[in-house]
């Protein structure tokens, strides 16, 4: 079975690299985007199973990306996990209202993030059980 593909959207190259290493070690394929504009074009091109999205981005911040994803029929089903340095008290509610599946403040605990990724990824249909 093919690995799930995750699109990492972050303008910090080191963080992108770290997430890539972490996710690949957990058997996910990764692609990346460095700003709001390329996030959308990459989402179209790569059709990822899940997007990890930073909020503070050049060329269209995270909220713009969330809105574009939500209003695009081909992309609106892709779950988004927001991973940001911003304060949850001012951002979390707005992020969730904008359609994200989860909110994490940086630095996010690896185990927790992986657990939520696992649970958020669209379920692959399991083969029907054999009749006994």
């Amino acid at each position: 079975m093919a690995n799930s593909k995750i699109l990492i959207v972050d303008d910090d190259p080191d963080l992108r690299q770290a997430l890539k290493l972490r996710l690949r070690a957990n058997h996910y394929d990764t692609v990346h985007a460095v700003d709001g504009y390329s996030a959308i074009t990459q989402a179209h091109k790569e059709t990822p199973d899940l997007i990890i999205l930073d909020l503070g981005l050049p060329a269209g911040d995270g909220y713009v990306v969330l809105e574009r994803l939500q209003t695009d029929d081909r992309l609106s089903d892709i779950p988004v996990i927001v991973l940001t340095a911003r304060d949850p008290q001012s951002s979390e509610q707005r992020v969730l209202k904008s359609g994200a599946a989860a909110f994490f403040q940086k630095p996010a605990d690896n185990a927790e993030l992986l657990e939520v990724i696992r649970a958020t990824l669209p379920k692959v249909l399991a083969p029907a059980p054999m009749p006994s």
Partner: protein, 531 residues
């Protein structure tokens, strides 16, 4: 009236005194417009409709006398300068008024035109100065908060980077590490976590100071929260070989507070206790009621540590205070923990204090308000001096279907609560604050003055209304149930207040079983129902 003229509001009921002051004002060189009223109520109306440059205030008016007079003017218009016109008999009061925000006073009978002119001019100038000071203080505070918020945001990005790559190395994702290297990496990780906690505290403290912490009050079972905090701190205590003990009075009713914030306070105090207690010692968390203070629960965290110097005791809740003799001197932190804890307790209208003796440990105590169910129930469940006939406890549970939850769960719960409040009769039903649960499940209770037959109508209505707004089927399981509130024995001979108290106790007992049964509901099994 030109822009530069001074508008004087004279509040004086004695026509002779009023004329005299008016005369002195006319003699004044600067252009002055005077309005004169003889009652405080008219004065307050005039202050609101046409704010004057200065108020000349007599303290003995037909509708208000003494200190109350200037107190009400100050309350109505805190920014308007006041000069009191006192008699010889109330000069002492006028002096006192200066400490409470009044600018000046003049003793009637010895008022010269010059003195009046000068008093008014200085009063106006001082008041303007005070106002601009207050404004720049607010601006500075706002600037400081923005700065801290910005700094903590910017610090998080490099912090995340360090955390990510250290854990990548530690987890062997970049190749094998030796035992020594592992040790060093773990030291880095520990420091990163400390730094992360400091960044969090920095923002939290500035938010507390600016009054920007919002509480979301719930009905909290304090015993459960204490146990949760102790469970969370167990590994820290074990590592240092410090015992963690709990003593909770089981009769404590619901606490009215924000469970997340209370947990923060508890964790903070327990963490501190462990930090200052040597191996082999113990930290004990207790919650109890005090007969002398029936509206509050008393919670204490006692350690067997080094104790606090009496000189330090007064400073310990201050921001940035750090004990110079701390045994943990190498890692001091920012010294914001106790400050934040105290602010959070104060926000709950509780108190926090410490009792300690050098070498004999410390006990940090705080109070939290109890949810006074009986007080809330009284107007709802009584009618014409007796208890209403039927009382039913209605339970509404919302449980998310998927984990993690898709969409905005917090808002779903808030929405449901609002709907619930609209679905009941406010004069005979009471919606309790949401129950604290330790999972995403949310439980609401309604004490309804109705019988079991009619409650089903109510339940249908609530279900319909919630389903209209919340996409229940896609998101969550909505469960409604009802149970009659039966009292042990016939209590109708007792005084009404006692009967209401009995109902409150019974409701508390019935409701507090609910959050506890939800601990193990994660695997989809239904909690056993009480018969």
């Amino acid at each position: 009236m030109t822009a530069s003229s001074t508008h004087v509001l004279l509040i004086e009921d004695n026509p002779g005194d009023a004329d005299l002051v008016r005369l002195r004002l006319v003699e004044s060189k600067s252009p002055i417009a005077v309005s004169c009223v003889d009652r405080l109520s008219d004065g307050l109306a005039s202050l609101t409709s046409r704010p004057p440059s200065v108020v000349l205030l007599d303290l003995n008016l037909p509708d208000c006398q003494g200190a109350e007079t200037f107190r009400r003017v100050l309350e109505n218009s805190p920014d308007v300068p006041i000069v009191i016109l006192s008699g010889h008999d109330d000069e002492a009061l006028a002096v006192k008024a200066l400490n409470l925000g009044v600018q000046d006073y003049l003793v009637k009978g010895s008022i010269t035109s010059n003195a009046l002119d000068r008093a008014m001019r200085y009063a106006i100038e001082r008041q303007a100065l005070l106002r601009s000071l207050e404004m720049s203080r607010k601006q500075q505070l706002e600037f400081k908060n923005q700065f801290l918020s910005h700094v903590s945001h910017e610090l998080r990005t490099p912090l995340t980077c360090i955390y990510q790559f250290v854990t990548i190395l530690l987890d062997g994702l970049a190749g094998q590490v030796t035992a020594d290297q592992r040790d060093h990496l773990e030291t880095i990780l520990k420091s990163v976590n400390q730094l992360g906690a400091m960044v969090r505290d920095l923002l939290e403290a500035s938010r507390a100071e600016a009054g920007k912490v919002r509480l979301e009050p719930h009905c909290v079972v304090i015993g459960d929260l204490v146990k949760l905090a102790v469970t969370m701190m167990k590994s820290v205590a074990d590592e240092k070989q410090v015992g963690l003990e709990v003593g909770i009075d089981s009769r404590i009713p619901f606490v009215h507070g924000d469970p997340d914030r209370i947990l923060e306070v508890l964790i903070n105090l327990i963490d501190n206790g462990i930090k200052f207690t040597p191996s082999g010692g113990a930290v004990t968390v207790q919650a109890c009621l005090a007969a002398t203070d029936p509206d509050f629960v008393y919670i204490s965290v006692a350690d067997t540590g080094c104790g606090i110097d009496p000189k330090a005791k007064a400073l310990i809740f201050e921001r940035m205070y750090q004990d110079p003799n701390s045994i943990d001197n190498s890692r001091k932190g920012l010294g914001l923990g106790l400050y934040i804890a105290k602010e959070l307790v104060t926000l709950h209208s509780g108190r926090m204090w410490v009792a300690s003796e050098l070498g004999n440990g410390s006990t940090f105590s705080f109070t939290l308000p109890l949810y006074s169910l009986a007080k809330q129930l009284f107007p709802v469940i009584t009618y014409q001096n007796s208890l209403r006939d039927g009382l039913v406890l209605l339970k509404v549970e919302l449980r998310p279907l998927s984990k993690p939850i898709r969409g905005n769960w917090k808002e779903t719960c808030q929405h449901s609560l609002e709907i619930l409040q609209r679905c009941v009769y406010l004069d005979k039903d009471l919606v309790l604050p949401p129950m604290t649960t330790h999972g995403p499940e949310q439980t609401f209770f309604v004490v309804a003055s109705t019988d079991m037959d009619r409650v089903s109508v109510m339940m249908t209505r609530i279900r319909e209304q919630i389903e209209k707004v919340v996409d229940v089927k896609a998101n969550c399981e909505l469960q409604l149930s009802a149970e009659p509130v039966t009292l042990p024995g016939t209590g109708s001979a007792e005084p009404l207040a006692q009967q209401v108290q009995d109902v409150a106790d019974r409701v508390t007992e019935m409701a507090r079983l609910a959050p506890k049964t939800e601990h193990n509901s994660g695997n989809g099994k239904m909690a056993p129902r009480r018969s």
